[in-house]
Structures are given as C-alpha cells and as structure tokens.
Amino acid sequence: MESIIEGFKKAFSLIFGLDAELLGIIFLSLRVSGTALLIVSIIGLPLSALISLKKFPARGLFISIMNTLMGLPPVVVGLFVYMMLSRSGPIGFMGLLYTPSAMIIAQTILAFPIAVSLCHSAIISVNPIIKQASMTLGATSLQTSVTIIKEARYGIMSGMIAAFGRVMAEVGAILIVGGNIAGYTRVMTTTIALETDKGNFELAIALGIILLTISLAINLLLHFVQRKGALPVNR
C-alpha cells in the first residue's frame, strides 16, 4: 500500500518536474508508435480500401487472415522481427536490431492487421446508397471509391486510434527487438518492466500512471470520433 502511495507522489513530482529523461522516454514512445501508425496508414489504408471496394478471388481469405492476425501475440512478432533483423538473419546486413527502427518495424506489423481489419469494416459498413448516389451524380469509379472512403472517415480514424492504442501499450515485441537500451530504445512500457524488475515500484507506478493517462486521452479521442461519426452536430 505504502509503495502505491509513494508511486503516486513520485508520479506527480516527475510529471510536474518535467524530468528530462522521462520526457525523452515518453517522446520516444510517441514517436515510435506514431511512425509505425504513419507507415500503417500509408500502406494499410489503400489496401483496406482495395479489399473493401474491389472484388477479387482471395478476398474472403485475405480478410480472414487479417482478422486472425489481429490477435497476434506481440512476443511472437518480436521473435520474428528479431530473427529477421539479427546479423545472422536474412536482412541483418542493415544493422537494424536494437534500434528504434526495429521497434517501428515490430509495431507496424502489430498495428497493420488491426488497422486494415477495422478500416475494412468501416468501409463496408457505409450505406450502399452512397455509392449509388455518387454514381448518379456522375462520379467515375475512382471518385465513387474516394467518396465511400470519405464517408467511412470516422470509422477509419477509430481503427487507426485503436491500433495506436494497442502499440503504445505493447511491451513484449519492442523489448525483444529494441533491447531496452537506456536513452536510445527505452520506451515507457519497457521502462515500466525494467523498473518493476529492479524493484523501483515508485518509478514504475509513476510511468504506469502516465501511460494510463495517455491511453485515456487516446480513448477519449476515440470516443469523440465515434460520436462525431454517429451524431453529426450543427455548426
């Protein structure tokens, strides 16, 4: 009990004292996850649009695979990326193991199926009348697709935020591929794991509180986006 109270005290003093090391850790977390999300948006969004709007033979299989991969255990992803990036692995020559880039790769793999699955369901749940309306007004098929994706924008954003939330809170994969190197690949979750190991519960709890606060902010944003999608308000 005592250590929990101490943890809260420490958390507040760290947060309000703007501890430079702590800020570095938080910032790296946001950057790694943010970059992973950016890559996922660049590749995953067009892909989910494609599988949602075009019919091709293996579509159902592809969607099933994506849904299954949503539940990928992070440590398995970590192990896989580790084996790939290790100097003795197939792309070891790039020297990416134990760098932030390795962490971004692992998080991209984790976030990808979540983002694609959720974006896909957002796009297919757009009312089919939107497609017809767009066609009656003279849209080309590309313009129609763009219109449908625009209509799904709140669902797509929800999917992206959910994926971001998952990778921000993830520890297994990035610990394996990042190595938790102080000041270089140490992020919030790996710091929490390490400080717990070291018995520095106060610092671990402090970081936990910060992580929870960020998760809360992400979820509030998600809630706001979903409400905005469901109930348009007058401006």
């Binding site: 943010g34 950016l38 003795s88 070891g92 932030p100 070291k198 018995g199 905005k228």
Partner: protein, 285 residues
C-alpha cells in the same frame, strides 16, 4: 478537420531528426541484468565515454542470451559471468580477447527464521542437499543465466535433480518436478522477491542482494557465504571480427583495454551502491 489535425501530427513526426543518428561512435555491449541493475554501468560507462568519446549501449539480458546475441553478431562486446561458457564460445571462434574483469560472490539466502536450519553449514552442495531433504521451498532463476548455471552445477554436485522435465537430455537422473522447487524464469531481483513471498531459499549474487534487500524489504538473511565454489567471475570479450565483419572491433577493444586497465579497474572498485557497499572486486590480470 480532425483528419487534417491527425495528418498534421504525423507530419510533425516525420519532420523530426532521424531516430538512429548519433554524433559519436557507439558500440553495443550485451550484458546481464544483474550487472545493469546493480548500477555499475551507470557509474563506469560515463567515465569511459568522457575519455574516449565512445558511447556504450547496454542490452541487458540473461548470460545465456547475452552470449547468444554476441554469437549472432548483434553486439560488439559481451560482458557476462559464466566463465566456462565464455571460454567455450571463444574456443568455438565466436569471440576473441576474453579477459577476467572483476568478481563478486554468490550467497544462499533464506527466510529470516531459517526453517531448514541451514545456518552454520559450510558447503553449498550440502546446503542444497538439506533443502531437498526438508522439501523447503527453493526458487530457481530458471533462465539460463550465470546464476542459474551456477545453481545447476551445485545441484549436480549434490547429486539431486529437482528440475523440470525439459532438461531431461542434460540430466540423466532426472526425477519429475518437485513441488518445493520453483523455476520462475525471471531476473535476480524478481527471483529474490518471489523467494521472499514464498518463504523460500534461493541462490543470489551478493551485489544484487546488497543493493536490493532493504529497498525490497526482504525478510531474508544470508544463510551461507564464503564457500569457494560460490565465486562469481565476470569476464569481457570481443565479438570475433573475422566471423562478423560489421562489428566495431577497434572500439570494442578500446573498451576492453580500458576496463582491464588501472583506470577501468579503479572505476569498478570505486563503485558503491546507495548503501555505500562495494559490490564488485576488480581482478583483471
């Protein structure tokens, strides 16, 4: 609107300086959690960096994993405490220039009331025998670390094999899992805490013990120390550049030569934990 806002955030992320850039030279050292958690690196690495401009990134894992990382070429230098394994890996050609650096010793700790009546005994393997006879709880690291390796050698010496069936191949006389033997697969400090919670005995290194017993409020005491078999030698070695062309051998050697130099050895000797205890005794030749 929201869309544009999120896009803006993302653009800010890319505009930032690249993540992997670094001003000076960097080498990567694979080491053990016990070394890192003791705070030794925080003490000696800044001294080394100040002198040479070389930054040392430490990846802290178990001894077995640290050697494996070096073997795979994913580190430049390895700093662990499992002399036999180290020498074997050098023999196999994965590493070069192995040197003794320092030592600390292992101790057996147990609940303050010492239920198995260990105190006063002199031999570690006799202690293990007695623990087994009394079926007193014993927590094992179970993670292939240097400490774990040491523990297994002590069981072997006592001719008792309480381990899981997974090591059937190594241990011919294996009995099935004993209820009093808990393999936790965790770091040293966590293992101590588990032992504390379970009122169990465990093998630990003095460094971790001294650094953490008060902080973790362990209701435990040292029940055996001083048996020469509990000597814990740390060594450092460079990844063989002939095997892995990309390693920063020159910088790695700079680090090794420094840590076994008078200056490096002095840095190790001057390291104190927060209770002013000296944890490591330098002994490079």
């Amino acid at each position: 609107m929201l869309f544009k806002l999120i896009l803006l955030f993302m653009i800010i992320f890319i505009q930032l300086p690249p993540l992997n850039s670094s001003a000076g030279t960097k080498i990567r050292c694979a080491s053990t959690t016990s070394t890192q958690n003791s705070g030794l690196f925080d003490h000696i690495l800044p001294i080394f960096e100040k002198k040479t401009g070389i930054k040392v990134d430490v990846v802290a894992v178990g001894t077995g994993a640290a050697i494996e990382i070096g073997r795979r070429g994913d580190a430049d230098v390895v700093f662990v405490h499992a002399k036999e394994q180290e020498l074997q890996a050098v023999e196999e050609g994965y590493f070069v220039n192995r040197h003794d650096v320092m030592y600390n010793d292992f101790v057996i700790i147990g609940p303050s009331n010492d239920p198995a009546k260990i105190r006063g005994m002199k031999s570690a393997s006799e202690v293990f025998k007695k623990i087994a006879e009394n079926s007193a709880f014993f927590v094992s690291r179970g993670d292939n670390s240097g400490t774990h390796t040491k523990e297994l050698s002590l069981w072997k010496k006592a001719n008792i094999y309480p381990q899981w069936g997974s090591r059937m191949g190594d241990e011919a006389h294996l009995t099935h899992l004993q209820k009093w033997y808990l393999e936790v697969g965790q770091g040293m400090e966590k293992t101590q805490r588990i032992a504390n919670e379970k009122r169990a005995y465990t093998l630990t290194d003095r460094g971790t013990w001294l650094a953490t017993k008060d902080k973790d409020k362990l209701e435990m005491v040292i029940v055996l120390e001083g048996d020469p078999v509990l000597f814990n030698q740390y060594g450092v070695m460079a990844v063989n550049p002939q095997r892995h062309k990309h390693v920063k051998y020159k910088e790695a050697m700079e680090f090794i030569n420094w840590i076994i130099s008078k200056e490096g050895q002095h840095a190790i000797a001057s390291f104190r934990d927060k209770h002013r205890n000296q944890l490591f005794i330098p002994n490079a030749k």
